[in-house]
Each structure stands twice: as structure tokens, then as C-alpha cells.
């Protein structure tokens, strides 16, 4: 079930240069949202930005009826969004995506995120309280590191790495995850981030027979499965290939299912 509502912006914070958090007041939206869901946000009434912007949900506060998302300014739409002010209304379609993270009490899980892909993993981690959570977050450099404290609080173990070694560990997040997995196998892996990272997680998970869930992104139109713009190639257990849609069947997919 998804709804379309004008939601008031009740909070806005600049996390680092070019990355903003916006909090929306909506009891209904908070009630309906699950970890992995995303919103389609109408950034303005201008026709300059014709399509809504799909942005994943970072935090769901059911008690206070608040839903939060974090985004990076990448183009016209996100630039306009970053200029919206507290008190203004934002038209939102959501929560969207029928493929969300599974939040069963697995014993030992790995959460791996890269860059701006780490944000939907926050709400996921909040919902895995009964699991041993090992989180691996990778960033290009120290200037791009965000949410360290938030993930520290939610994780039993947190490894932050940067590609250039300018902060904490040097290297790719997946390499630290692999190292820990070789000591004791994970029961499940959750991942969101750049495509090369997702491909590496997918290959590792399949090779080691670990169930893995990947949150994907694709250029999106309607967000509800009607325009079939955000296609991702999938295969079933017999190897038959078929396009599914990130907005409708995802954004979270079983790693075995997608061809990325």
C-alpha cells in the first residue's frame, strides 16, 4: 500500500558538503514504511524537473510519525530539493518498492554499504536488533564519511574504510567483510552501494552459499511499475531471463536473481 501526500518538512540538516537529510512529518507514511522502501519526491512544481526523484528511506520514526531520507546533490532536482526549507510541504509518493529487506532474527549478519548507498541500511540495522550485526562502510575519502556514530550505535562491529586510506582502514569494504566471514561465516549479507561493490558482494555470496540481498537503483519514471522504465535483468532457477522492475519488484533483490 502506497499513498500520495503533501508532507511538511520538519527537519533539514546538511551532513557534509552536498549531502542533506530531510525529515518529513507523516504518521501514515511512517506506519506504512519498511526497511528498504523508497519515496518518489516531487522536488518542485517547475517543469524543469519533470520526474519525481526516487530516494530511499533512511529512518522511520513510527512513534513521532516522521520519515527521514538522505540524498546527495547530483543534478538539478536534488539541488532544488536541497534548497527546500523547514516548514514547506513536499509532495511524496510512498512508501514504494515491494522488495524490501528481510528482517528476521538471523544470528550473524553482514551489512555492507558504499558511498551514498549506506543510507537505507540504517533503517535495516535498526530492525535487526536480535542479530549480531557486522557493518562495513566504504567511502572514497575522509571528506565523504557520514553516519559513523549512528552505525556504531547499531552495530556489534563497525569497519569504516576509505579507498585512499585517508580515514580509518584503507581498502574496499568488501575485503574487510570477506576477512571476517572467513573467521566465522555470515548467515546473511545485505548490501547497497555502487555497482562494482554489489557485483563483488553478489559473486562472494553465491560462491560461499550465503543468502544476500542487494538494494539496486536505476533511472526511474513512475515508481509504481507502470512505465516499466527501471528494468533490471533477472533469471529464475531454471536460468530463464526476464526483466523485472526496480521500483515494483525491488529495490531489494535476492543476489541470486539479478544479472547486474
Amino acid at each position: 500500500m502506497a499513498i500520495q501526500r503533501d508532507c511538511q518538512i520538519v527537519g533539514k540538516e546538511k551532513l557534509i558538503d552536498g549531502i542533506y537529510k530531510i525529515s518529513l512529518k507523516s504518521k501514515e507514511l511512517a506506519e506504512l514504511s519498511k526497511p528498504g522502501n523508497f519515496l518518489e519526491i516531487k522536488v518542485s512544481d517547475s517543469l524543469e524537473t519533470f520526474l519525481r526523484r526516487p530516494i530511499s528511506i533512511y529512518n522511520i520514526d513510527k512513534e513521532n510519525g516522521v520519515v527521514e531520507f538522505i540524498f546527495q546533490v547530483k543534478g538539478k532536482g536534488t539541488e532544488i530539493l536541497s534548497e527546500r526549507k523547514v516548514g514547506e510541504m513536499l509532495n511524496v509518493l510512498g512508501p514504494l518498492g515491494n522488495g524490501t529487506f528481510s528482517v528476521k532474527p538471523y544470528r550473524r549478519v553482514a551489512i555492507i554499504g558504499g558511498g551514498i548507498g549506506i543510507y537505507p541500511l540504517h533503517e535495516l540495522a535498526k530492525n535487526l536488533k536480535d542479530s549480531e550485526i557486522n557493518t562495513y562502510l566504504g567511502f572514497r575519502n575522509k571528506d565523504l564519511v557520514t553516519l559513523e556514530d549512528e552505525f556504531e550505535e547499531l552495530s556489534d562491529k563497525l569497519v569504516i574504510s576509505t579507498d585512499d586510506g585517508s580515514y580509518k582502514e584503507k581498502g574496499f569494504a568488501i575485503d574487510f567483510m570477506k576477512k571476517d566471514c572467513s573467521k566465522e561465516k555470515f548467515d546473511r549479507i545485505y548490501a547497497c552501494g555502487p555497482l562494482p561493490m554489489l557485483r563483488a558482494v553478489q559473486a562472494f555470496a553465491i560462491e560461499n552459499e550465503i543468502p544476500a540481498e542487494l538494494s539496486l537503483e536505476e533511472r526511474m519514471g513512475c515508481g509504481i511499475g507502470a512505465c516499466v522504465g527501471c528494468a533490471v535483468l533477472t533469471k529464475d532457477s531454471d536460468g530463464n531471463q526476464k526483466y523485472k522492475y526496480v521500483c515494483q519488484h525491488g529495490p531489494v533483490f535476492n543476489a541470486k536473481e539479478v544479472i547486474i
Binding site: 500500500m1 502506497a2 499513498i3 500520495q4 517543469l47 524543469e48 524537473t49 519533470f50 520526474l51 509518493l93 536505476e218 533511472r219 526511474m220 519514471g221 513512475c222 509504481i224 511499475g225 507502470a226 512505465c227 516499466v228 522504465g229 527501471c230 528494468a231 533490471v232 535483468l233 526476464k242 526483466y243 515494483q248
Partner: protein
């Protein structure tokens, strides 16, 4: 609600009461399931968007067994947009029309206008002769349903395909489909869409659509369906009022 923008209605049921719609024109449907183009299939531009979906659809059997029973629950007319599948042959158009003729639907729209498939559609849709031939063959088998021909704007003179449809016995024509267009990523210096070009829709093409509906409605006597977003419905009727008659609105 127009073909390609509304799927088979199911996805919009959370947002719209389907009973309130006069008619739904389904997504373009072929005899067999058809896979669309590789992603990226969508690119935004000022006042519009481009797509190169490639008429992906689950096929007529799926429509008949899953989507049609779903749509029949609602008080709305069902018009099926159809095309000649992967091969795009006239025979395929005729066969799907023959099968649709016996289904519990309210009309058929043949798609002669998709710019994103390799075969069919534009091969017939851009000339008087092409439209006339395929329409007359579909007309022969489509004896119990209204036949609408959806035209492409990617022509020099829209009155020629419009007359082709009328002379072949179409009950109405609908226009316009998208205008072929392209967007380049300035970082990679490559086209954004997977097949390089796509179809441009949205407010950006409204003046072109208005001009073509005007020209077509003066060239034929059959109803002309001017296709628009539902963004500003009253204006839509005002624009087309006095020319032809019917106007279907497009969902965004």
C-alpha cells in the same frame, strides 16, 4: 488513461479509483510476451522525458487470463493497444486483432507509432499506403469492436497517415505518440538511453501535438483523439473543443 503510461491499471489502484475513468487504453500488447530494451530506458529533459522501453509486455494470453479479469471488476471501458510483436509483421497485427475481436473488451487501438522497436510500427505508420494497408487488414478481422489507429508524429505530413486510417475503415485515430529524441551525458559523451534514441513525451511536445491534432482533424471526418496528460484537463478540452470531438487524458 493512455497506452504506455498506465500499464494494465493495476499499479495505479492505490492512487486512483479506476471506476472514475472513462476508459483505459492498455499498455501495448503483442501475441507473445515481449522483452523490452536494455536499461537505461528513461531520461529526463526540461518539461518532458524520453523513453525507450521497447513495448515490453506479458503477451495476450497473460492479459486475457490475469489483467482482463482484474480490469473487468471496474466500471470503465477497456481498450487494448496492440502491435505485431517482435517480428512486427502485418500477419501478427491481424492475428492479435482476430483474437481481440472475440474478447470481452470495448475497443482495439493498433499501435503504428512506437519509435523504439526494430520492426513494425513505424515501418507502416508513416505513409498513407502503409497505414491504409495494415488498417484495412485489421479491420477485416475486427468486425465487432471499434478500431482506433494510433499515429506517430514523426512524419512530415500527418494528414496522409490520418487519411490512410480513415480510408481503410478505422473508427477513430489517436495522436500523438512520442517524438524521436536523444539526450547526451556530457560527462561520458555518450547517449543516456541504451538504444541511443527514445521517444519524447510531456508538456515539451504539447504544441506539436496540438498542431497535429488540428491538421488531422481537418483532414478526416472520423473522430480524432487528442492525447494529453491529465495535468490540466479543462484546458485540454478547451484546446480541442470545436475541432473534432473526443479527448483522452494522459496520466503522469
Amino acid at each position: 488513461m493512455l497506452h504506455g503510461t498506465f500499464g494494465y491499471g493495476r499499479n495505479h489502484k492505490d492512487f486512483i479509483d479506476l471506476n472514475k475513468l472513462g476508459a483505459i487504453i492498455t499498455k501495448g500488447t503483442s501475441l507473445k510476451p515481449k522483452q523490452g530494451n536494455k536499461p537505461p530506458r528513461i531520461a529526463e529533459t526540461s518539461s518532458g522525458m524520453m523513453n525507450c522501453i521497447g513495448l515490453e509486455n506479458p503477451g495476450l494470453e497473460y492479459f486475457a487470463t490475469v489483467d482482463l479479469p482484474f480490469l473487468k471488476q471496474y466500471d470503465t471501458k477497456i481498450i487494448v493497444n496492440c502491435f505485431g510483436g517482435q517480428e512486427g509483421t502485418i500477419e501478427n497485427y491481424v492475428e492479435i486483432c482476430r483474437q481481440l475481436n472475440n474478447m470481452d473488451i470495448d475497443g482495439v487501438e493498433i499501435n503504428l507509432s512506437c519509435p523504439n522497436v526494430k520492426a513494425g510500427c513505424l515501418a507502416y505508420g508513416t505513409t498513407y499506403e502503409g497505414v491504409k494497408e495494415i488498417t484495412s487488414r485489421c479491420r477485416k478481422v475486427l468486425t465487432s469492436k471499434p478500431l482506433i489507429v494510433k499515429l506517430t508524429p514523426n512524419v512530415t505530413d500527418i494528414t496522409l497517415p490520418a487519411k490512410g486510417a480513415e480510408d481503410a475503415g478505422a473508427d477513430a485515430i489517436s495522436l500523438i505518440n512520442t517524438l524521436t529524441a536523444m539526450k547526451i551525458d556530457i560527462e561520458t559523451r555518450r547517449p543516456i538511453l541504451s538504444i541511443n534514441t527514445g521517444g519524447l513525451s510531456g508538456p515539451a511536445i504539447k504544441p506539436v501535438a496540438v498542431r497535429m491534432v488540428y491538421q488531422a482533424s481537418h483532414a478526416v471526418k472520423i473522430p480524432v483523439m487528442g492525447l494529453r496528460r491529465n495535468h490540466d484537463r479543462r484546458r485540454c478540452y478547451r484546446v480541442y473543443d470545436g475541432w473534432s470531438n473526443l479527448c483522452v487524458c494522459r496520466f503522469k
